[in-house]
Symmetry: C2
Subunit: 152 residues, 2 copies
């Protein structure tokens, strides 16, 4: 993993911390223009605050990036997210034609990329980004563990 | 299928027609309170107009219903949609804890409920609504066919 990729995942982790402070499951996402390295959108989980079951970090980041670029597709862009995307977000990543997906912690229970229905690997999936798992997995997983332990 | 259920699917079909007139893939959705029969939200596909790859009829209807009810869950509500939901919308239907899903036309290429990754049937799926397919399938399928034929 290059220093640049670390930098973006660190930014996603900072977003995840913000979500934890709001009482949300700590997941953060960043969308980056692949060529320039410019950050297009950052977001974190807002399901509880927005009372919106779709308000996952990835979905909010993709919507914000599409609004910023005026396009329903993000073909030259890469997504960094601190947790393996769920099936909803995995399908949206495909719809948005994102170039690369970097995710940190695995999610054996709720993930939809390498776990569960493995949406991006289905034969019916029209666009599969390059997928890189495990980038910054340790701090992301620790943050999630701490969050859920405090809620028990 | 009771008359009431027909009524709601007809409303969803009218929403789908509105989407077609805007140049969108014609899919419409309606969310109904199961006990009172009150319509909580109606929506149709707005991906192109909103430049938002997440703006499927179901996702917009669920977000609108959650906003109307002030809750990120819709446990007593039923969703009527003119096309089999994609994997993104199928997962959101589960997150929103919808009681029943009624859909019209099958979608062998893009569907995610009875086709593709069959998200609601995955062992990792925490909540599966009751699922009723084929309700009003003919007019819904005809509308989609006409739309795609005109675009060739």
């Amino acid at each position: 993993m290059s220093g640049h990729k670390n930098k973006y995942m660190e930014l996603a982790l900072k977003e995840a911390e913000k979500a934890a402070l709001r009482g949300e499951v700590p997941v953060g996402a960043v969308i980056v223009a692949g060529d320039s390295g410019a950050v297009i959108a950052v977001a974190s989980n807002r399901v509880m605050e927005d009372r919106d079951p779709s308000a996952h970090a990835e979905l909010l980041a993709i919507r914000a990036a599409c609004a910023a670029l005026g396009s329903e597709r993000l073909p030259g862009c890469d997504l960094y997210v601190t947790l393996e995307p769920c099936p909803m977000c995995a399908q949206l990543i495909s719809f948005a034609r994102l170039r690369r997906l970097y995710f940190a912690a695995d999610d054996p229970k709720g993930g939809g990329v390498e776990n569960g229905p493995r949406v991006l690997h289905a034969s019916s999936c029209h666009h599969q980004p390059e997928i890189y798992g495990g980038i910054g997995a340790r701090p992301a997983a620790q943050m999630l563990k701490k969050f859920f332990q405090a809620r028990r």
